[in-house]
């Protein structure tokens, strides 16, 4: 079955693996071992779920969009990860990893962040568990996600602006890895998506599985069926993997939406960076290309290896949408439903809008991975204050 465990080598088909410097191999092995043990330990799993409920605000609701459904001619349901504590799905994974770090006796967390959502979630968990925290963020993203930088600092995290390469998410990952290579003895690398070396893609998906589990039950309760389509935005692919994993054995069509400027599945070929074999945007000799997206959280030239696998076997599809379509969708949801989505999540909606004719009459479950507060500044620059659009 798709979306079951990877092989012992951490492969999903030909994708995945553990391509990191030898220095980090023991840490990856230790993490894998700790994760396997913890996930088989009922007390750990219970504590994880209890924190997600009492602190994170789970379960997140399923919201039927009456006005927008009528306008688009589909039955649109939103899985409201935007309502989680810290404003996105990222908290699920971070609580899981922080608990694991504590279990392994590590007192320091490092993380990369694009939009700042994963950085904020990591800083939150570090505050909650009294750990030291350092977040690497590309210089371009520091500028466009200023509010999140300050939020992280408020919670006691140190934010380091990364000025190498494309100055976005890819380079923040490089810098976090360099930190980890030097500090592995007391530090856990709290990776923010279903990417990186084994066991991260599998472990992060497992911590987000709760999204899909809840959504499946909620769909049964609300519409008495599995959705015809499950759609989510894809940067590294963690919110998509979380919701897809609840429907892997259903007949639902799975759609991961990439930004046109970071379409790893759409435009990439298999390559190796950040610890994994996966689809990767590269030039003709194998240099990794810089992604270019309006959304900092999707500005990434790669994709998690399990998505590469799902694409290669045809279980999921990965179309892309343009920045212009995303800006439209962002405003559409705000005006019709009173929900301001994260720019990342607006990618999923942009695809539904574009495909609404072909989706007519279908039940569409959309993972609203985050809220748009962090993007309001950037949108004000794009749309202009007092814009009558």
């Amino acid at each position: 079955m798709v979306m079951s465990d990877p092989t012992e080598e951490g492969r999903f088909g030909e994708f995945g693996g553990r391509f990191v410097p030898e220095t980090l191999i023991p840490a990856c092995e230790e993490l894998e071992q700790a994760f396997r043990e913890a996930w088989n330990d009922a007390a750990f799993v219970e504590e994880f779920h209890r924190i997600l409920i009492d602190y994170g605000g789970r379960p997140s609701p399923l919201t039927e969009c009456y006005r927008l459904s009528e306008q688009l001619g589909v039955r649109l349901l939103l899985k409201r990860e935007d309502l989680n504590h810290t404003g996105s799905h990222k908290i699920n994974n971070v609580i899981g990893q922080a608990l694991l770090a504590r279990r392994m006796g590590k007192s320091r967390l490092v993380a990369e962040t694009g939009a700042g959502q994963h950085g904020v979630a990591t800083a939150t968990a570090a505050a909650l568990f009294d750990m030291e925290c350092k977040v690497y963020m590309g210089q371009v993203d520091v500028a466009r996600q200023e509010l999140n930088v300050f939020r992280m600092q408020l919670m006691g995290a140190e934010v380091e602006s990364v000025s190498s390469g494309s100055k976005t998410l890819k380079d923040a990952v490089n810098e976090a890895m360099r930190d980890w290579v030097a500090t592995v003895e007391n530090t856990h690398y709290c990776l923010g998506s279903v990417m990186g070396p084994h066991p991260y893609p599998w472990m992060v998906r497992t911590f987000h599985h709760v999204i899909g589990d809840e959504a499946r039950e909620q769909c049964q309760a609300l519409v008495k069926q599995d959705p015809d389509v499950v759609v989510a935005c894809v940067g590294g692919g963690s919110n998509a993997a979380g919701i897809f994993s609840g429907f892997a054995d259903a007949n639902s069509r799975l759609v991961g939406v990439e930004p046109a400027g970071g379409a790893a599945v759409g435009r990439g070929v298999p390559g190796v960076v950040h610890g994994m074999v996966s689809y990767l945007m590269q030039d003709e000799v194998g240099q990794v290309q810089e992604a270019e997206s309006i959304s900092a959280g999707l500005d990434y030239p790669g994709v998690g290896p399990e998505h590469a696998y799902l694409a290669s076997v045809g279980r999921a599809e990965y179309p892309s949408v343009t920045d212009e379509e995303v800006v439209e969708a962002f405003q559409l949801l705000s005006r019709t439903e009173g929900i301001i989505p994260a720019l990342e999540s607006a990618h999923a909606l942009a695809w539904v809008v574009r495909e609404s004719t072909s989706l007519k009459g279908q039940v569409v479950l959309l993972n609203l991975s985050g809220r748009g507060d962090k993007d309001v500044d950037q949108m004000m620059d794009i749309l202009g204050p007092g814009s009558d659009r």
Binding site: P21, E22, M177, R178, V181, T183, V285, G286, V288
Partner: protein, 254 residues
């Protein structure tokens, strides 16, 4: 490369390898002066977009070289014309071998006069297919042993390594450090216990004195960031030559 280095080591010489970023302005001349000044082999960096094992100095040189249009082909095309008299290794990242395919990349290295390859993001567990293809093409793969590598894996790693065993001197990325890490001698010691291949320590060695201390245990040292910094500072090939000569002299007990 292994035979060449063994012979020199067995003759009582401490080995010295200079790393130079290929494609950086003046790199070919720097390679030649480094060899003339007493380097026993040269490590040529093929710049990659995401050098995760490299610190700021080598990152900057790589990025500058990439911006100037360096490609694997342009760097390798210059190697046959280098007049060094010592073996050449390349140091680059695995995707540049994965992208063209193992066989093709290994064949290109071999035909360019490259004797060995170092791929720091290709750990032992993932290295089998590449090592096989490289060996068939006559290219030795140098494996890295880290301070965190457990004793249980070290014999297998040293066995797999060809050319020499690269003992990573510290937990961290390339770059000079104020003092030699205690891990530098420990890891070299642990490698020496399980292999008679040449064991060279690299990463974090930035002065002739540190090199001498490292060589109390190791068979030699790899000097990277200190060399590249000379180039970044405008020292040119002559600056690199002087620097390597100072290491050579210190290692020879001068």
């Amino acid at each position: 490369m292994e035979g060449f280095l063994r012979e020199r080591r067995d003759a009582g010489r401490k080995l010295l390898i200079a790393y130079i970023t290929g494609g950086y302005e003046g790199w070919q001349a720097a390679v030649e002066t480094a060899a003339a000044a007493g380097a026993d082999a040269i490590e040529i960096g093929i710049p990659f977009s995401d050098p995760v094992m490299d610190g700021p100095v080598i990152q900057e040189a790589s990025q500058t070289a990439l911006d100037a249009g360096a490609t694997p082909a342009s760097v390798l095309a210059a190697v046959p014309d280098l007049d060094t008299g010592v073996p050449h290794a390349v140091m680059t990242y695995y995707n540049l071998a994965h992208h063209p395919g193992h066989e093709r990349f290994a064949a290109t290295l071999a035909s360019s006069g490259i004797d060995a390859a170092i791929l720091p993001d290709l750990p032992l567990v993932e290295s089998g297919p590449w090592r096989e293809a490289a060996a068939l093409a006559g290219v030795e793969t140098i494996m890295l042993a880290a301070p965190t590598t457990p004793d249980t894996r070290l014999p297998e790693l040293c066995e797999a390594s060809k050319g020499f065993v690269y003992a990573v001197g510290l937990l961290g990325v390339t770059g000079e450090r104020a003092a030699l890490a205690s891990t530098a001698t420990e890891i070299a010691q642990r490698c020496k216990r399980v292999t008679d291949k040449p064991v060279l320590t690299g990463v974090g060695i930035g002065s002739p004195e540190q090199a001498v201390t490292a060589c109390e245990v190791a068979d030699g040292v790899i000097i990277g960031s200190a060399v590249v910094r000379r180039l970044l500072d405008g020292g040119g090939a002559d600056g690199v030559g002087e620097l390597i000569a100072s290491y050579r002299e210190a290692l020879d007990g001068g």
